[in-house]
Every structure is written in structure tokens, then in C-alpha cells.
């Protein structure tokens, strides 16, 4: 169920250039159904900035009623959020959308998790769930440069982890798909989240594989009512369009026209 919850910030720290890891506590966490779901955050109590910000749930702990978000403090809204201190309450709407399902990989299989920039966070909870059920996870994480890299150790603790940076200042140089072309991974299913060009390249590269992609789109309501976040579907799909907020953000490969 979607709830509007004043959650308390119980930890917040910078983990890379402009990248904040924030832990929020509240009963909204009880409602989380799958990794890759997101929350819609009100960053102020005034009306400026007005709209909520969609942020993926990076991981959660239902016992403690805590979830972790990782976000880039870039524009007005995310900067205001980043400036909030421990103990402060934040108005959070969620959990929203349909995330990745660990059911798409069977124990013993290899899953390829490909993240780009702020697309990396939702893959963390997914990897935890997949590895917990015995799926072998390989992580290919793309960033701009060394100072933008985060969660390398966390992912490495779960499985093979490759860092790829655009400028080569950490890990391999290039795009995630370059790295995969150079050193292919044998896998059954891929899961990916990141900028649209990356999603596009990944989908093309692995057109013959089962895959799941998480999309971004500008949002209004976040719950499916305003039609701000639609994407056209590829020809042959049932619906002419999907809504990223309520039908997605995760879709099987081949559904969304990119």
C-alpha cells in the first residue's frame, strides 16, 4: 500500500562527489514490496520547490523500519534534501511503482547487474536478494570518474564487481557496454538502471537475453494519475504507452520504446 509518511532521518553522509547516502526510518518501510521501487520525497514544507523528487530505494530493513536512499545533490530540491540533518522529519510518499523481481533468476544462475551513476543504488537491494537466494551476481557499475564512485565494497561483498569510469580515473575506462564487450560475462538475466542511453546500449547488446530495465522520467503525481511520465511502447505491445511511475519504473526488455 502507498502511504504518506513523515520519516525521520537517522543517518546521512556524503559517500562520493555530491552523492548522499541517507537512512530514513518510518512505517512506510513495511510496505516495500521489491527492490527498484521508489519513493517520492517532499524536500520542503513551503511551496518552493513545489514538486516531490523521485528517489529509488537502495536498500531496506523491515525489522528496523529503515531504508537507505542514495542520491545526487545536484538541483535545488536534492540540495535541500542533502542539507537536512539527522533527526529531521521528511515527508515521503511510497513505496511507488513496480521494482525488480528476484523471481526472474533461479538459484545457481548468473545475473548481470549493470548500473550507471545514480542508477546504481536500486541494484544493491536487488543484489542482496538475488545472492540470498543463491543467484550468482556480477556487477558492472559505471561512473563519470573516480570521485563519483560509491558502494564498490558493498557490491564486491556480494559478487564480482567491475568499476568502469568514463574518464578511466578508476577501474576500466569507457562505458559499461565497452567493458562487457571486452570481457564478456556469461549470464542468464540482466538487470539494469541508469541513464537512457546506457539502457539503450545494454538492451541492444543483449537483445537475445532476458532483461529488466529501470527507467527515469519527469514526474508529477508519482502514482499514475497525471500522465506526466508516460513512455511509448515498442510496436506489438498491448498498450500504446506505459507510465513509469505506476507501471514501472522497471520493465522487461523490449517493452518501452527507447
Amino acid at each position: 500500500m502507498i502511504v504518506q509518511n513523515r520519516m525521520t532521518i537517522c543517518a546521512t553522509r556524503q559517500i562520493a562527489d555530491n552523492i548522499i547516502e541517507m537512512v530514513l526510518e518510518g512505517n512506510l518501510v513495511k510496505e516495500i514490496a521489491s527492490p527498484g521501487q521508489f519513493v517520492h520525497i517532499r524536500v520542503t514544507d513551503t511551496f518552493e520547490p513545489l514538486l516531490r523528487r523521485p528517489i529509488s530505494i537502495a536498500s531496506f530493513d523491515k525489522e528496523k523500519e529503515q531504508m537507505t536512499l542514495i542520491f545526487r545533490a545536484e538541483g535545488r530540491g536534492t540540495q535541500l534534501l542533502a542539507a537536512k540533518q539527522i533527526g529531521v522529519e521528511v515527508d515521503v510518499l511510497g513505496p511507488l511503482g513496480n521494482g525488480f523481481s528476484a523471481d526472474n533468476s533461479a538459484p545457481g544462475e548468473t545475473a548481470l547487474l549493470i548500473g550507471g551513476g545514480i542508477g546504481v543504488p536500486p541494484l544493491y537491494q536487488l543484489s542482496k536478494e538475488l545472492t540470498a537466494k543463491g543467484v550468482h551476481c556480477v556487477h558492472i557499475l559505471g561512473f563519470q570518474s573516480a570521485t563519483a564512485v560509491f558502494y564498490e565494497e558493498e557490491f564486491a561483498a556480494l559478487g564480482e564487481t567491475r568499476i568502469v569510469t568514463a574518464d578511466g580515473s578508476a577501474g576500466e575506462q569507457g562505458f559499461v557496454t565497452d567493458s562487457l564487450a571486452r570481457n564478456p560475462v556469461d549470464f542468464t538475466t540482466y538487470y539494469t538502471c541508469g541513464p537512457t542511453p546506457m539502457l539503450h546500449a545494454v538492451q541492444q547488446a543483449f537483445h537475445d537475453k532476458q532483461g529488466f530495465l529501470s527507467f527515469e522520467q519527469r514526474m508529477g503525481c508519482g502514482i499514475g494519475a497525471c500522465f506526466a511520465c508516460v513512455c511509448e511502447t515498442q510496436t506489438g505491445q498491448d498498450m500504446p504507452y506505459v507510465k513509469v511511475c505506476s507501471d514501472g519504473p522497471v520493465f522487461p526488455a523490449g517493452v518501452v520504446a527507447i
Binding site: R42, E48, P49, L50, R218, C221, V230
Partner: protein, 304 residues
């Protein structure tokens, strides 16, 4: 006695609060969050004759205390709205105002005639003011003669009262208001969005794929209040006011300006529970103002 009740043509409202068209879909999503029967009414999303996909994305952009949208009247078309959406809404005890859009008089008339026959549609809202589609009625909204003709044509076929939704993007809104009143409109809803634009800092190009978008939210409230005030002095038909309503205090302002009921648009995105919260807050506000009923507020600004 229900202190919040308001009687309008075709509409017995248990309270004067309703979600604005396009900001609430067909009620399904918000219906998962709370009981829609609490609402005074629901203004459903614009319905056109055929299915419309709408504009390319991005369709929304944030602005200071407001937002731009250029959804482009995306909707499943008359047939499916009637068969699926209105049927589903029939389970809630809430009057429906159907927002009717089109590009030519003929479209409007066909949609109006059919949708006004749905058992739970209590009134039509003639959308002659959508700034986001090429032939989306904006010409009807800025030309009093066209507006009047369309109103007459729709009145002729509609089985329920017809409210006309006015555009704020005009030099004198009272001219259009008087024209549609003379043409038989039963009420006016106002305001639709102001045409605006936001540019991307880096590229200098519009953020919204459509170029321009409609400005809504708190930023536009002073314009909306001024226009409701002007129109309520100029016509004798009731007004459903909107534009930047976020709380019960704003409702007081719109009623004082001369509206008889109030719609809430953008604020639903900021706080999905805003409509029921406003409804619950109103009685206390009436007490504070020493007023018995909500209708006592209507047009307070006009009194000398």
C-alpha cells in the same frame, strides 16, 4: 444540517471541494489512497472522441511555486472512458463533472451528448482553454463569439448542466464569461493554466518537449483570485474556482472572491491527501470566522 453543502446546477455537493480535471485521472489512483465519496465532486480528465496519446515527454517542469505541464489531453477516448472509467467511478457516492475536449465543434458535441448520458455524470465542463494542443480548444477560449457558439451547440445536446472552463490567457476574461453566459452556460469553471515556458540552463532549449506548457500551482493563485472576482461581478451564473489551491485557507479566498465551489489541481501531486484534509479543516475555519455555513463566504470580497 451540513454546513459545507453547496447547491449548484446539476450538483448537490456535500462540500465545495473537488479535484481539478487532469490532476486526478479518473479517480482510480487516488481512490486507492482514500475514500472518494468524501469529495464534493470529481472533475475527471479531459475526454476526447478518439484515444489520444498526448504530447512527447518531458511533459512537466517545475517553476517557482508552480509547475508547467503539457500532457496534451492524453486519454483513452470517449468509448473507453464511458465503459471503463465511469463505470468504475459509479461505485463511489460522488458526483462527476466530465471535462469535454475536442478540436472542432463536432467533436465537442459528440462527446458531450454521449458522456452527458452516463448515469453518474452530473455536469459537463467544456474545456475551451487547454493551451497544450494545437487545436485543443484554445481558439474557442480566447474568442467570445466562438466560445458562445460552442456553448450553444453543446447545451443543445447535453443532458446535464454545462460549465465552461475559461482560459486566463486573455485581455479581458469577463468578455468571454458574459458571452458563454448569454449562450446558456450553467456555470463557469476557472482558471485553466497560464501559458509559460522553462528553458534548460545548459542548452537554452525548452525543458518541455512541447515548448510551452500550462502554468499551475500556488504561483498563479493571485491571478486566479483576481479573475474569479472580476467574473463573479460580471455574470450571474456560479463559478467553480481553481488555481493554486493548497489548503483550506485558499478555499476561503476563492469563495470570498466569488466562487461557489473550489477545485484542487497541482496540490494533489504535492500532497495526495490534500482534498480530504481541506474538507476536514473547513468546519473549524468557519468557526474561527464566526460563520454558520460555507455559503456565507461566497462573494465576501464584493460587499462594500
Amino acid at each position: 444540517m451540513n454546513r459545507l453543502a453547496v447547491e449548484l446546477p446539476g450538483l448537490s455537493l456535500k462540500n465545495p471541494i473537488m479535484p481539478a480535471s487532469g490532476c486526478f485521472g479518473f479517480g482510480k489512483e487516488y481512490g486507492n489512497l482514500y475514500d472518494l465519496s468524501q469529495l464534493g465532486a470529481i472533475m475527471i480528465k479531459a475526454t476526447t472522441l478518439e484515444t489520444r496519446f498526448g504530447n512527447p515527454t518531458p511533459r512537466v517542469a517545475e517553476t517557482a511555486a508552480g509547475m508547467l505541464n503539457a500532457i496534451g489531453l492524453q486519454n483513452p477516448g470517449l468509448e473507453r472512458v464511458m465503459a471503463e472509467e465511469l463505470t468504475r467511478l459509479a461505485q463511489h457516492d460522488v458526483p462527476i463533472i466530465a471535462n469535454v475536449a475536442g478540436s472542432e465543434t463536432e467533436d465537442y458535441v459528440q462527446v458531450a451528448e454521449a458522456i452527458s448520458k452516463a448515469p453518474n455524470v452530473n455536469a459537463l465542463e467544456l474545456n475551451i482553454s487547454c493551451p497544450n494542443v494545437k487545436c485543443g480548444g484554445i481558439a474557442f477560449g480566447t474568442d467570445p463569439k466562438l466560445a458562445a457558439e460552442l456553448t450553444s451547440a453543446v447545451k443543445e445536446v447535453s443532458s446535464v448542466p454545462v460549465y465552461v472552463k475559461l482560459s486566463p490567457n486573455v485581455s479581458d476574461i469577463t468578455v468571454i464569461a458574459k458571452a458563454v453566459e448569454a449562450a446558456g452556460a450553467d456555470g463557469i469553471t476557472m482558471i485553466n493554466t497560464l501559458v509559460g515556458m522553462r528553458l534548460d540552463r545548459k542548452t537554452g532549449k525548452p525543458v518541455i518537449a512541447n515548448g510551452t506548457g500550462g502554468l499551475s500551482g500556488p504561483a498563479v493563485k493571485p491571478v486566479a483570485i483576481r479573475m474569479v472576482y472580476e467574473v463573479s461581478k460580471a455574470v450571474n451564473i456560479p463559478i467553480i474556482g481553481m488555481g493554486g489551491v493548497t489548503d483550506a485557507d485558499d478555499v476561503i479566498d476563492f469563495l470570498s472572491a466569488g466562487a461557489s465551489a473550489v477545485a484542487v489541481g497541482t496540490a494533489n501531486f504535492v500532497n495526495p491527501f490534500v482534498c480530504p484534509e481541506i474538507i476536514h479543516a473547513l468546519p473549524t475555519l468557519l468557526d474561527e470566522l464566526g460563520l454558520k455555513t460555507i455559503t456565507d463566504l461566497i462573494g465576501r470580497s464584493h460587499a462594500v
